[in-house]
């Protein structure tokens, strides 16, 4: 039985303290009664109340949610298509350019992506608003989705799909009935990734949103530029809580799915052996 060595235990403790303390402090001080954020003056939930009465924040949250749902859904469809093209389509004219365009946005500084999209939207005379943010977010998230999905597709046994085709499926049926269920976990995590990327984005949204649309990160940004505020602490706490619950649920679900898959595989092996 292996144990933690003294050195490893120390480095892990310090490391995780560094990663988590700032957020823990933020959560604790969101329940501070005082307007002075660094002075503790007793427990209170009044900043949460203030937050719920603040229409500007609620509107921004609504815009952000709309943008995130739409862009991550488009990005999942486009990114999955792109992944299939990358892994399955073989050679075609302009393949290098295609894979370059999939990987480049992953390392592109956000200021450049934002600037270039804004210049495009202005060039073609598209009014800036929710639509332009959705287009921008779809474009960079689809690349993340396609990376996640293609790594799953690479390890997927193509003969299953061929068997379905031999048994009389149309290519679309084979995809829907065989391939999609197998790559589904990757598609779902791709969607989640796209969703959080969109929720989180400040820079690209600031460039591509016109005066008519403000997302939550943009609203937070304009407020925190002026300094720490108890309302933002409360808002941050809510966001941290949602993410924590979401990630933990997702990981439990995927763990259960993995266990189930292992069971199925073992059962299949036994059936084969028998």
């Amino acid at each position: 039985m292996r144990r933690f060595s003294w050195f490893n235990a120390t480095s892990l403790t310090l490391g995780f303290a560094f990663l988590y303390l700032p957020m823990i402090i933020l959560v604790i001080y969101s329940f501070n009664a005082s307007k002075l954020v660094t002075v503790w003056a007793g427990f209170s939930t009044k900043w949460y109340g203030e937050l719920l009465r603040n229409d500007a924040f609620l509107d921004a949250a609504w815009v952000t949610l709309k943008v995130a749902v739409m862009s991550s859904s488009f990005a999942t469809v486009l990114g999955t298509m792109a992944a299939i093209v990358l892994v399955r389509a073989g050679r075609f004219y302009g393949r290098t350019l295609f894979s370059g365009m999939i990987y480049a946005p992953l390392v592109m500084p956000e200021v450049i992506t934002g600037l270039s999209l804004l210049l495009l939207f202005i060039g073609i005379g598209l009014d800036r608003g929710v639509l332009t943010i959705v287009l921008a977010h779809t474009t960079f998230s689809m690349c993340y989705v396609s990376v996640v999905v293609s790594s799953r597709l690479v390890s997927f046994d193509q003969s299953l799909e061929e068997a379905a085709l031999d048994l009389g499926c149309t290519p679309f049926q084979a995809f829907r009935l065989v391939t999609l269920p197998i790559i589904a976990p990757a598609v779902i995590s791709g969607w989640l990734l796209a969703f959080t990327l969109s929720l989180d984005d400040l820079v690209i949204a600031s460039f591509t949103a016109g005066p008519s649309a403000t997302t939550l990160p943009m609203k937070i940004w304009s407020s925190v530029r002026l300094g720490v505020s108890p309302e933002i602490n409360a808002l941050s706490t809510l966001m941290i809580a949602i993410v924590a619950v979401g990630v933990i649920t997702a990981s439990l679900v995927s763990k259960r799915a993995a266990v189930k898959q292992q069971k199925d595989e073992r059962a299949a092996e036994r059936a084969e052996a028998a």
């Binding site: 039985m1 292996r2 933690f4 060595s5 050195f7 490893n8 235990a9 480095s11 892990l12 490391g15 995780f16 560094f18 990663l19 988590y20 700032p22 957020m23 933020l26 001080y29 660094t38 486009l78 990114g79 298509m81 792109a82 299939i84 093209v85 389509a89 075609f92 350019l97 295609f98 990987y103 390392v107 956000e110 200021v111 450049i112 600037l115 270039s116 999209l117 210049l119 495009l120 779809t138 474009t139 689809m142 290519p171 929720l199 989180d200 400040l202 820079v203 990160p217 937070i220 925190v224 300094g227 720490v228 933002i232 602490n233 941050s236 966001m239 993410v243 924590a244 979401g246 990630v247």
Partner: protein, 296 residues
């Protein structure tokens, strides 16, 4: 036919919303700033046909790039971004390596949990993670309160709005990017190699230095690029935690665009930033490819 549609849809999308916008940035970088809507000249007028196109081409020039080389603000911003990116990459490596090492050497049943704890912050809003340091580092912030109450300092330290705060912010937010590739390299490491080295007379430290570090080299390189590349164009961290003296090119581009409304100069700044980034991106891709070949 079906295959063609499948290829065409994502292809056309990326061409229209990724490649074409870049060409527009290049084009505007060669234009002149103007008091107009949009605020640059020339604009392409296709109604005049070929003559309009050549007239348009003849008006493009490299003036903005000359301007960038003449005004030392931009030089300083590029150099200082490079310096900040290099220093914070090294700092992230120093902080991240022991954590990755501790994770890879942790009991098997702990590893999945530790891994999730590293990934979890990545799902949390970047902006909020940066913001959380403002309350800690400010003059009357929690860190100064703690140090003063312990009697370690008598005057509050000034950390917020300095480069130190920028380094802390970068190390904090990009730490998972450094830990994950190093962890995956260290996890694969065959421990009998270390035992062999110790049997052959190496001290534990020498064995670490001569066996563990070289074998985790790929992870170190990958992690360093994953920190270095986005840091170079970083905007949020220097704007929130840095001071007026913190010069980073992402911030300059933002201000050139939003405050000065000089689109051609902002575009030229973007083009040069891209050229600087091409080198580390190519090196990173090569490293990834080498790793894949070594595994495959």
């Amino acid at each position: 036919m079906r295959r063609l549609t499948l290829i065409a849809i994502p292809y056309v999308w990326l061409l229209a919303l990724f490649l074409v916008p870049f060409l527009i940035v290049f084009k505007i970088a060669l234009s002149d700033s103007a008091l107009a809507i949009p605020p640059y000249v020339p604009t392409l007028d296709l109604s005049e046909g070929w003559a309009g196109f050549t007239a348009f081409l003849s008006e493009l020039d490299f003036e903005n790039f000359v301007w960038l080389t003449e005004d030392d603000l931009y030089w300083k911003a590029y150099l200082s971004s490079l310096k900040i990116a290099v220093i914070s990459t090294v700092l992230t490596l120093i902080v991240g390596y022991p954590i990755a090492y501790g994770m890879a050497r942790a009991p098997q049943e702990w590893r999945a949990t530790l891994l999730m704890l590293v990934i979890l912050p990545f799902w949390t809003s970047f902006l909020i993670r940066v913001y959380s340091w403002m309350g800690i580092l400010s003059q009357e912030g929690y860190l100064n309160q703690l140090l003063m109450s312990l009697g370690l300092i008598s005057e509050p330290l000034i950390i917020l709005n300095t480069n130190t705060a920028v380094y802390i912010g970068i190390v904090y937010t990009y730490l998972p990017f450094m830990i994950l590739p190093i962890y995956s390299a260290l996890e694969k490491l065959d421990e009998s190699l270390l035992e062999a080295a110790e049997d052959l007379g190496c001290s534990r430290f020498t064995a670490f230095w001569l066996v563990t570090v070289p074998l985790s080299k790929q992870g170190i390189i990958a992690g360093s690029f994953l920190v270095f590349i986005p840091t170079l164009g970083e905007f949020v961290i220097p704007s929130l935690l840095g001071g007026s003296k913190t010069l980073m090119i992402g911030k300059v581009l933002w201000e050139e665009f939003f405050s000065n409304r000089d689109w051609p100069v902002a575009s030229a700044v973007a083009v040069i930033l891209l050229l600087i980034l091409v080198i580390p991106i190519i090196l990173f891709q090569r490293n990834e490819q080498k790793q894949r070949e070594a595994e495959g």
